[in-house]
Symmetry: D2
Subunit: 155 residues, 4 copies
Amino acid sequence: MSRPAAPNGHNPGPDMPIALDDARRILDSQPFSRLLGAELTAFAADAVELRIPLRPELLQQFGFAHGGLIAYAADNALTFAGGAALGPSVLTAEFKINFLRPVKGEVLVARAAVVHAGRRQAVCRCELFVQDDAGEHACAVALGTIVAFGPATEA
Amino acid sequence: MSRPAAPNGHNPGPDMPIALDDARRILDSQPFSRLLGAELTAFAADAVELRIPLRPELLQQFGFAHGGLIAYAADNALTFAGGAALGPSVLTAEFKINFLRPVKGEVLVARAAVVHAGRRQAVCRCELFVQDDAGEHACAVALGTIVAFGPATEA
Amino acid sequence: MSRPAAPNGHNPGPDMPIALDDARRILDSQPFSRLLGAELTAFAADAVELRIPLRPELLQQFGFAHGGLIAYAADNALTFAGGAALGPSVLTAEFKINFLRPVKGEVLVARAAVVHAGRRQAVCRCELFVQDDAGEHACAVALGTIVAFGPATEA
Amino acid sequence: MSRPAAPNGHNPGPDMPIALDDARRILDSQPFSRLLGAELTAFAADAVELRIPLRPELLQQFGFAHGGLIAYAADNALTFAGGAALGPSVLTAEFKINFLRPVKGEVLVARAAVVHAGRRQAVCRCELFVQDDAGEHACAVALGTIVAFGPATEA
């Protein structure tokens, strides 16, 4: 994650929460997230929501969402949840994902939240769903560690 | 994974190994893998190699490869390693990935191998590297479970 | 897991739920669980609770509960949650655990629940807490896969 | 991990490697490791070996080694591998384990090594084996993160 520098160059940090619009600009500054068409629809330490419309380029050979796309969504939702707690200069150190069922539908939704945050590190979880005409179905679950990196690393 | 149906519709299974060319056709039948530009350069239960040239669309906001891209590469390399042992009708049930360092370079390389395979399930590991002018550097490591699904599921 | 054979030798399966008393007998039939002093205080697919009084033999060199003990508690609580959904003949295929803080207190509590269950496999999660004079504190979180093994495997 | 304070109270750190005898004293200072009968037979960043004779108290109800015991062995071998790289004041932040087969035999052996170490954190892997009359068989594989904690935290 990252964010456009605030006018005074001040790092907002976890005590000055990043607003949803700012978080959206961070997401939009990731070329890979633009390539995949990811959208951020909620941003708070206890409720990040990332949505990805399932256009044909994102599928595997059977017409299901590719597992790698689902892993991307988990990774990024976990990172944004950690960023909501730790500030904008964070990255995912590790995560684990369990796929619950093949994913076919309109939209992939990843919802992440902080389980426990220290000053420099947050353990976050993510639940993933697919939305279709019949509603919303759980399709994967993930758990990972987000770490803050020093202000010097931030561009 | 999957593969173009053999002329006689026979499932080759693990006793009739999938050739590298066939495995490449499977990869190429995944729209998401084509979108990301993944190439398969080795295919055996003890040595799958997947390569992804790091073009700008695959990066995050600091110019590093996006973690979600690395997770995709791990997921797919693990699945192909499992497929080399179990046959073409497999999917990743779960995996875990640890990121070792930010990834900047020319090509992301994922090398996967089977750790242990039963008849219906394989535990596989994957090591990921980035190649640049100075050589090759480890950048992530993953471990996961690949499961075979019944022939009825295969298109 | 396992259970004393029902008088008629019938495997109760997920459709004939295992009662808490039966589940306790299963736990008590594990020599390792007796060695560690584990107690089962709730047993349902959405609410397994395992408790371990933190006697001195269970600690590491700083007086905290040993990480291996916490991993045991997660592993076993996950397995019992899976067993509540799948029947008594199950085992843990894999799990991941994140430690949130050093554990010092009176009792380690592991609470597990099924996230998603098929016929032969369940993905389960577990949250772990330590209880002391000041109340209850989250200390770890885990996520794993429980699989059923065939009736022939059961003694 | 920890170690008896050196006479001058100096923390040896990663630049003054911990000797095998010192590492054994650390293991022996863990009441839980003594309860389980764990022995350290090799200690280096690229080769930690922990052995646990499989006495009856360590089994589950079918006579196999309890999964929680295997998880303990993985956790502790990972921690010692991390300690060999980072110094004695380390703890396991998280790990994941895949069980490959039921474990029956004489001795459980966990072999761990550092995959990548920074100054404060090491990613380590562990392979577990069971030894019986017929030789040695792989039974589990693990991957995790070990972190150093500050000198102030060390007793």
